[in-house]
């Protein structure tokens, strides 16, 4: 049955239609119902958090930033309410990313693309932009008509377009504006920005995010989900037959018949599908697909078709949820006339939950028990050991003390290792011999040069571990680090 391919056919693409496809613009219709209400609620919540969180204050004492959530890049600090992270603690973000990824998998194994349909910024902002569009230009039919019209534009139409884009740009601009507020004291920065005294970089970022928001939510819309985002592809590979997805009930819907005909046939006692082929599910779909064709990669599972169909079913007096959340198994079971089964608790969801609990628990534990006093010790590499004129041996170390607390500390340094070690910090005249004391200001690090000397009669033959203890004189808090005392 093999056909011979003529090489000429492979080059001439125009034989088979265009090589690229023009985008079919989607005109989602407004809809009301449970899922629409959930989406409005989540949109208000997500945008509310995003836009207003930078203004939430958190008292950290004098001299420390009072912004609840702040990424302080110049000083390399991240503040999140009562948590303050230093650059070396960036692994908490790794943990957070792991938890986020697994939470996404868990959501997916329970309810499909919950993220895509309700929470993803692309969805939320696109939804908001559609709402603005609808408010100004009218619903689906009007918008389609206006776009298709070839009449010369009247002032009214032009002002509509201008108004729509102005509001879009305003939202986009506010989105970029809120972004930069996470990187600086929000009230101060707002004041600076409006008086054109703000840093250049802030304006640049506002510009970039205004542009991305405007383009992605105003123009790219479902194209982002279909062509740009990797998650639909990954999601398809991660899902299973138990996951709830927005599904059309073939058993109830088929065969599709018009309302009138259905009534006639039912009167005759015949089996008729509930689907009246009204295309409301297609009309409201923000990605412009037909859910009745089964699960599709383009479907973000926002549930709006459920609302649309429910409204129609209510009108024609048929039971709701012809389209609803259902799993793959039930599609087949229903067609065989069996009762639907659901299983939320299964190895997959248990495993995901366990991973989230384990990583989250570990992070909380380490965060709760982390020390606000820390010490790092680095042995000199060249020379590793120095012989002094009286024959004693000295090793030098670079010691970095970290005081992550909100108060100044007086600390003492001890070195425990070979007998009779003496410890000296360069630049510090010790009041207590062999136990240098030093002040580290709050929320800062101090780098010291530490000299440890073993007397001639006690010269170690080989490398011996030394444990450095750093003790907060006032609080008794101790941090330790181990290095070696090296013989020449």
């Amino acid at each position: 049955m093999n056909k011979t391919v003529n090489p000429k056919d492979l080059i001439s693409g125009d034989d088979y239609g265009p090589l690229y496809a023009a985008r079919k613009k989607v005109y989602p219709q407004s809809v009301s119902g449970t899922f629409r209400r959930i989406k409005w609620g989540l949109m208000a919540f997500c945008l509310g958090v995003y836009y207003f969180l930078p203004f939430v204050r958190w008292n950290r004492g004098l001299g420390a930033p009072s912004q609840a959530v702040l990424i302080d890049l110049p000083n390399s600090r991240f503040y999140f309410f009562f948590i303050e992270l230093w650059p070396q603690e960036v692994y908490y973000f790794t943990g957070l990313l792991i938890v986020a990824a697994v939470a996404l998998f868990l959501m997916n194994s329970i309810g499909g693309r919950i993220w895509c349909g309700y929470l993803c910024p692309q969805t939320v902002w696109t939804d908001l932009f559609y709402a603005v569009e609808r408010l100004i230009e009218g619903d689906r039919r009007e918008r389609m008509k206006k776009d298709a019209s070839s009449d010369p534009m009247k002032l009214e139409r032009i002002s509509e377009i201008v108004l729509k884009h102005s509001i879009w740009l305003l939202i986009a601009w506010w989105t970029g504006g809120a972004w930069v507020l996470y990187f600086n004291d929000a009230p101060t920065l707002v004041k600076e920005l409006v008086t054109f005294q703000g840093p250049m970089i802030a304006y640049v970022w506002i510009g970039i995010l205004t542009a991305t928001t405007y383009v992605l939510a105003g123009y790219m819309r479902e194209q982002v989900c279909t062509y740009m985002c990797p998650w639909p592809r990954i999601q398809a590979a991660l899902t299973d037959e138990w996951a709830l997805n927005v599904t059309y009930r073939y058993d109830r819907g088929e065969k599709r018949t018009s309302v009138k005909k259905a009534a006639e046939l039912r009167a005759l006692g015949q089996q008729v599908g509930d689907c009246v082929d009204c295309y409301q599910c297609v009309a409201v779909c923000p990605t412009g697909i037909d859910i009745r064709n089964g699960p599709q990669m383009e479907c973000i599972q926002c549930g709006l078709c459920i609302d649309a169909c429910d409204n129609v079913m209510a009108k024609i007096g048929r039971p709701k949820r012809l389209i609803g959340y259902d799993n793959d198994i039930n599609i087949h079971r229903r067609q065989e006339g069996k009762a639907p089964i659901y299983r939320m608790v299964r190895p997959r969801t248990i495993a995901y939950s366990a991973i989230i609990a384990a990583v989250g628990g570990f992070m909380i534990y380490t965060l709760a028990t982390r020390s606000l006093l820390d010490v790092n010790v680095l042995h000199d590499r060249n020379p590793v050991a120095v012989k002094l004129s009286d024959g004693s041996i000295r090793n030098a170390y670079t010691v970095r003390l970290l005081n992550k607390s909100g108060y100044d500390r007086v600390i003492a340094i001890d070195a425990n290792g070979p007998a009779n070690l003496t410890v000296h910090v360069v630049g510090v005249d010790s009041v207590t011999p062999d136990r240098p004391m030093i002040v580290i200001p709050r929320d800062s690090t101090s780098e010291l040069r530490l000299l440890v000397t073993a007397p001639a009669e006690n010269n170690p033959e080989k490398s011996i571990p030394v444990r450095f203890h750093v003790t907060d004189i006032g609080l008794g808090e101790v941090a330790s680090a181990t290095d070696n005392f090296v013989a020449p």
């Binding site: 034989d15 239609g17 090589l19 062509y227 060249n382 002094l388 009286d390 630049g427 040069r449």
Partner: protein, 290 residues
């Protein structure tokens, strides 16, 4: 030939008409905006060729209309850095050496600056960490030829040793053998005597009294009574455990016969005063400073 209006029955999509072993390729066209973006990136790349240095020529390369060069970028960055450091370096230049060591911020700056300058200028002889080598003193220990206080270290860096500078440290180990001052057996004897000063074992049958006599007549003038050394002359302490040219008999005999006069260049004029100060503090803080 192929039927290009063929539609795949399962997906409802048209096929490209290509078929391999019964598998047909569906026609899944790229979105148009994607293709446009792709071509735009090519146009953008051409913009790069025009704006930035791009194409290699025989002996050079196209420079681009902006005249950008990464080398110029580095120069600007370095100039910025100097500007940022400017004030601090002025503070460093104004502070006394002792005050620098007492002020943690100035000390950190001096150590950082000193370390860099040391690596550029001093490391070839003294080693990157100041560990020294035969003939080049270890700057980490507490044995100093010309003194180990901050001021003394600074003076040595400024003017050097036997450097030819008007204020340089002078004084050298004479060549007692080469110049015929001491005979060969006398040199062996005094070498062993010097070893005995720091408790090192001596050659069998060594005449300590004779050694002491030779030492008193020839060496005490510079190395002092008992060989404790003299930092005014750069005469090392012979009683400690640190030996610049080695402590074995052969090394000592060579030192006594041939003399020693290592040279440390003067850095005044080559490095600015604040930098020399930073370097003095750095060397002092290596651990041997007095």
């Amino acid at each position: 030939m192929t039927d290009h209006s063929e539609v795949d029955t399962v997906t409802g999509k048209s096929t490209t008409g290509h078929e391999w072993d019964g598998i047909k390729e569906l026609n899944t066209p790229l979105p148009r905006w994607w293709v446009i973006c792709f071509y735009l990136t090519i146009v953008w790349a051409i913009g790069y060729w025009i704006v930035y240095p791009a194409w290699p020529l025989i002996a050079s390369n196209t420079t681009g209309v902006f005249g950008y060069s990464s080398r110029a970028d580095v120069a600007v960055e370095l100039a910025n850095l100097e500007k940022i450091r400017g004030d601090k370096m002025v503070a460093l230049g104004a502070a006394s050496l002792a005050d620098i060591e007492k002020d943690p911020a100035l000390l950190a700056l001096a150590r950082a600056k000193g370390k860099t300058v040391f690596g550029d200028n001093c490391a070839p002889c003294h080693g990157s960490g100041g560990a020294g080598a035969k003939g080049f003193p270890n700057l980490n220990d507490d044995d100093w030829l010309w003194g180990g206080t901050l001021d003394q270290i600074m003076q040595t860096i400024q003017f050097g040793a036997r450097s030819g500078h008007a204020k340089t440290h002078e004084g050298q180990m004479l060549a007692f053998g080469k110049d015929g001052v001491l005979k060969a057996d006398e040199i062996v004897t005094v070498a062993n005597y010097v070893r005995s000063l720091s408790g090192l074992p001596t050659r069998k049958g060594f005449d300590a009294a004779k050694g002491e006599k030779i030492f008193a007549e020839n060496c005490v003038a510079c190395h002092g009574d008992g060989g404790k050394g003299n930092q005014e002359l750069g005469a090392p302490n012979l009683t400690d455990k640190i030996w610049l040219y080695g402590s074995d008999e052969a090394a000592l005999i060579e030192t006594i016969s041939q003399g020693r006069a290592g040279v440390m260049p003067a850095w005044e004029g080559r490095l600015d005063p604040a930098t020399i100060k930073a370097m003095a503090v750095y060397v002092h803080s290596l651990g041997g400073g007095k």
